[in-house]
């Protein structure tokens, strides 16, 4: 086990770089967790956990080093090694394996060269399909050695060579895979659209729907469009999702879908689209606490719902997709809870609200004020009697005020229109000159009139 002082140095450095540091122990089991994934995302996940979780740091980094060495990406190995060197210098993984690095780099170069020559040959033969395969192979190789930009270039060249829908889908998935790794969320959206634009068959669309919804959901999640993202995740069929373990696991699907739905949907929608959804119910079985939290929310047990979610906060913070949004999602769920809690009442004591939502000894008032200011909570605070009062809107008064306002505006506008027409008719508009376009016109006559005014003043005084 690594020395705690070394860990401290490592996390201080991480903290200084603006990284997330999570001290609480998560509930997840690292080996079990990572076995859900395949492909390059395994390293990404291990590495990010290693960089942020204090408890799992060394284990995760060790696993990351092993994972990197299993692949061909030397840069990744170096990154992982640099971290573990600081965090746990006594571990065997902290020794840099120069021999492996040299060997791999050499092999990579040879392979790249081989594929390039092959591709050149295909190009000379002018066979569309083999050119496409050539680009794909080269792209896949470059991706596996970590040269994402070059890989993306090769994938892009695949597209014109595509002759069937299946080819188009193949291209799009490769391109989106790169976008996911580069965290380029906006291009995912457009690539998905391109992918589906050509296809006409119902069958095709149906087969591609889960993939499309999955990546679109991720893109929306990162664009903070939580409601859209939740809808995407909720529509994915279970059986198919397991194919995309290089992107996310079914457990992730349950977590993302459930959390985002909680943050963005109202109670009836949660009931019908999450709890009663035949397809999503299967996902929820993988993450029972999400289902518990959702049904607690629907049943009005808000504090229990929040407590359940709170106990999983550390886990979600470690997820590469969720981590940056956890805070916002949680606060949205929380304020929704407060709003829902308040709906049946016209007046609630602040004490009872504190009891339900605040941490012991703290007051909810500041949070309530922010919510009222942002318009999320339609209520007013009475700090003297310590009450939260609902606003009772007087529709009649509102209507009357609107009617009078409209009448007033009509009159004002009528006058203004006539005035403007007459100004134009009298040829009195301020006209632009070359000088006016450069900056200001008319200061000459302004100064003139000012002078006149001064003279008038002198004369009258």
């Amino acid at each position: 086990m690594a020395d705690s002082s070394q860990l401290l140095t490592f996390f201080t450095a991480m903290d200084n770089q603006g990284g997330l540091v999570i001290k609480d122990a998560p509930k997840l089991d690292l080996d079990l967790y990572i076995s859900n994934y395949t492909g390059r995302t395994r390293f990404e996940r291990l590495f990010s956990i290693g960089q942020s979780s204090v408890v799992l740091c060394v284990d995760a980094l060790k696993a990351a080093v092993t994972e990197a060495k299993r692949g061909k990406d030397v840069r990744r190995y170096r990154e992982a090694w640099e971290c573990i060197r600081v965090a746990a210098p006594n571990e065997p993984e902290a020794q840099f394996d120069q021999a492996w690095a040299d060997k791999t780099e050499k092999a990579n170069k040879l392979e790249t060269h081989r594929l390039e020559t092959e591709l050149k040959g295909y190009k000379n033969n002018l066979v569309k399909e083999s050119i496409r395969i050539g680009y794909r192979d080269l792209g896949e190789h470059l991706e596996s050695i970590g040269d994402l930009t070059a890989a993306n270039d090769n994938y892009t060249r695949m597209r014109p060579e595509a002759s069937t829908h299946a080819h188009l889908f193949d291209w799009a998935k490769h391109a989106i895979g790169i976008s996911l790794q580069k965290r380029d969320w906006s291009s995912i959206q457009s690539n998905i659209n391109k992918m589906l634009s050509g296809s006409t068959g119902e069958e095709d669309l149906k087969v591609q729907q889960p993939y499309q919804k999955t990546v679109l959901g991720l893109a929306n999640l990162h664009g903070e469009k939580f409601y859209d993202a939740a809808k995407c995740f909720l529509e994915v069929e279970l059986s198919v999702c397991q194919q995309y373990s290089n992107i996310m696991s079914p457990n992730d699907m349950a977590t993302y879908g459930g959390l985002l739905a909680l943050a963005s949907m109202d109670r009836s929608e949660l009931q019908s689209r999450v709890l009663d959804s035949p397809s999503f119910r299967n996902y929820l079985e993988l993450e029972p606490h999400i289902r518990k939290a959702t049904s607690m929310f629907v049943n009005g047990r808000y504090s229990a719902c929040l407590a359940t979610l709170e106990s999983y906060r550390a886990d979600y913070l470690l997820d590469i997709h969720l981590s940056r949004h956890v805070k916002k999602i949680y606060s949205q769920i929380r304020s929704k809870c407060i709003v829902q809690y308040f709906i049946p009442f016209s007046c609630v004591t602040l004490d009872s609200l504190d009891k339900a939502f605040a941490k012991p000894g703290e007051s909810l008032e500041a949070e309530l004020i922010t919510m009222i200011k942002s318009g999320a909570l339609k209520a007013r605070i009475d700090t003297v009697d310590k009450l939260l009062m609902a606003i009772s809107t007087d529709r009649r008064a509102e209507m009357q005020a609107n009617a009078l306002e409209a009448a007033k505006n009509y009159e004002k506008e009528a006058l203004e229109r006539i005035r403007r027409m007459n100004i134009v008719a009298a040829d009195l508009e301020v006209k632009g000159t070359a000088r006016a376009r450069a900056g200001l016109g008319g200061d000459q006559w302004f100064n003139e009139t000012r002078r006149q005014m001064n003279q008038g003043e002198a004369a009258s005084g």
Binding site: D394, A407, V424, A426, R437, L440, W445
Partner: protein, 483 residues
């Protein structure tokens, strides 16, 4: 002398001529005689002028009275000065506007001279009266308006009658094209532009700058009265003044700066300029009014300290623009608006909490004592800005209760309010009618109509829509978008 008196007293005859045509003819005859008299016996008029004036009632024999007064005042005031000036005041306060429509140039001479002859406070009053006498609707801007407002503002003599004059919405301007002159001038039912024009010499043609300056000065006068709503409207008229080819006047920029500050005082925030503001003007406002919009955004935020710093940093600019007074008002209003905004969050809040939560922009800090807050709140309640009451809790802490927004009106009250607006709109009818007539007979519209008819029957029912389109092309509305 007797002959002069005879001529002078000849019009109007005892049996008052109600019929416009007859009246018109009679005035014509009288005017010829009067001008002959003026030409031939100026000296007699000067020497016996006062006696003649004694003989006449200015409210009835206005034409003759004006003629005599004109000779006494121009080229120089005849002795005894005091008496002549007294006559001038009496005349301006009581003349008959119907007959004077025929003697515009003489009247205008006298009106233009008045500010130099009378002390400003009196001049402002009599000129305001005279303007309302000539045009009781006050809906037409004349050169006298512009002289009057300059005089009133520079001499700081704000008379209630002046406020009456500037309160009237101005919709007509001298020199409007396409005025048909078929009516006789003495017809009391014709709209003001028909008898106040360059031809009738009751006004001279104005330049855009004069019109802008009039509204700007109106705004300044309202500011002096601390009537922010009217000042806001006046500045807005300047800010949104119709422009062509990206034109922007410096007066408009000046007005924009004041408009921003007054908007803060009136509404506690700045709304974007109305949609019909000239696009070129908006761009200029953005660059030249940057410091002001910066102040506005600070005003809406919680940073009293930074508002104060921003104000202090640009002190020279405010002084140069002549806005130091408004800026001081803005600083004073800052805390009030923040107290008022607490209404959005609280129904009841204790005085010490208000003190902790709001800062004064004058010092950049919270107030020292709870009593100061209490005074502030009481002032706000007294001025009608805040709808609330301060009460004392059982344990001695004082607190403020925000009262709910005005309770519903009864059905009758609402109906009455709406009826009032309807009446005001009906009162606009003559304005609508004259504008409609003017536009309906304009060359462009007639040409359009002819073209439309030639095009054939398929668009027959579409003339109104076609007209709208035409208006868009012509940009007659100066950028107002149809609603």
């Amino acid at each position: 002398m007797d002959q002069c008196a005879a001529v002078c007293l000849a019009f109007p005859p005892e049996d008052l001529l109600a019929d416009n045509q007859t009246y018109h003819k009679a005035v014509g005859v009288h005017l010829t005689q009067l001008s002959k008299l003026l030409k031939e016996s100026t000296t007699t008029l000067v020497t016996h002028g006062l006696q003649l004036l004694e003989l006449m009632d200015p409210a009835v024999k206005s034409l003759s009275y004006l003629a005599v007064l004109h000779t006494l005042l121009i080229p120089s005031v005849s002795a005894p000065r005091d008496v002549v000036l007294e006559k001038l005041v009496v005349f301006l306060l009581s003349f008959d506007s119907r007959s004077l429509r025929y003697a515009g140039s003489h009247l205008l001479d006298i009106l233009n001279l008045t500010p130099q002859l009378l002390p400003p406070s009196i001049a402002v009053q009599v000129l305001s009266e005279a303007i309302l006498r000539i045009d009781p609707t006050g809906s037409m801007l004349t050169s006298t308006h512009t002289h009057l407002i300059k005089l009133a503002y520079t001499s700081n003599s704000i008379h209630p009658t002046l406020l009456q004059v500037i309160d009237k919405p101005i919709v007509f301007y001298p020199g409007m094209a396409n005025q048909s002159d078929s009516d006789v001038v003495c017809d009391m039912s014709i709209p003001p532009p028909k008898y106040i024009s360059k031809d009738s010499a009751l006004t001279v043609v104005l330049k855009p700058a004069a019109v802008l300056e009039y509204d700007l000065t109106c705004g300044l006068i309202y500011c002096a009265q601390r009537d922010w709503a009217k000042a806001y409207a006046a500045f807005e008229r300047v800010v949104t003044f119709p422009t062509r080819e990206q034109g922007t006047s410096k007066i408009m920029v000046e007005a924009y700066k004041k408009w921003v500050l007054v908007s803060l005082l009136l509404k506690g925030k700045v709304t974007p300029t109305p949609s019909y503001t000239g696009p070129g003007a908006n761009k200029v406002y953005e660059t030249l009014g940057k410091q002001y919009t910066n102040i506005a955004s600070l005003f809406e935020s919680d940073g009293a300290q930074s508002l104060k710093e921003a104000v202090d940093a640009d002190a020279a600019l405010w002084r140069e623009d002549g806005n130091m007074g408004l800026i001081r008002e803005v600083l004073a209003a800052y805390q009030m608006w923040h107290v008022l905004n607490l209404r959005q969050v609280y129904t009841k809040i204790s005085i010490p909490e208000i003190r902790q939560q709001t800062k004064s922009a004058q010092t950049g800090n919270i107030l020292d004592k709870d009593e100061d807050i209490e005074t502030l709140i009481q002032n706000m309640v007294a001025s009608g800005m805040l709808d609330g009451i301060t009460e004392k809790h059982d344990d001695g802490t004082k607190f403020l209760t925000f009262l709910p927004p005005s309770t519903a009106l009864s059905e009758q009250q609402l109906a009455a309010e709406l009826a009032q607006t309807a009446t005001r709109l009906k009162n606009l009818q003559p304005v609508f009618k004259s504008t409609g007539e003017r536009l309906g007979t304009s060359k462009e519209y007639v040409r359009h109509l002819v073209k439309d008819q030639r095009r054939g029957g398929d668009k027959d029912n579409d003339t109104m829509m076609g007209f709208d389109k035409q208006v868009d092309e012509e940009d007659l509305m100066g950028g107002i978008t149809s609603t």
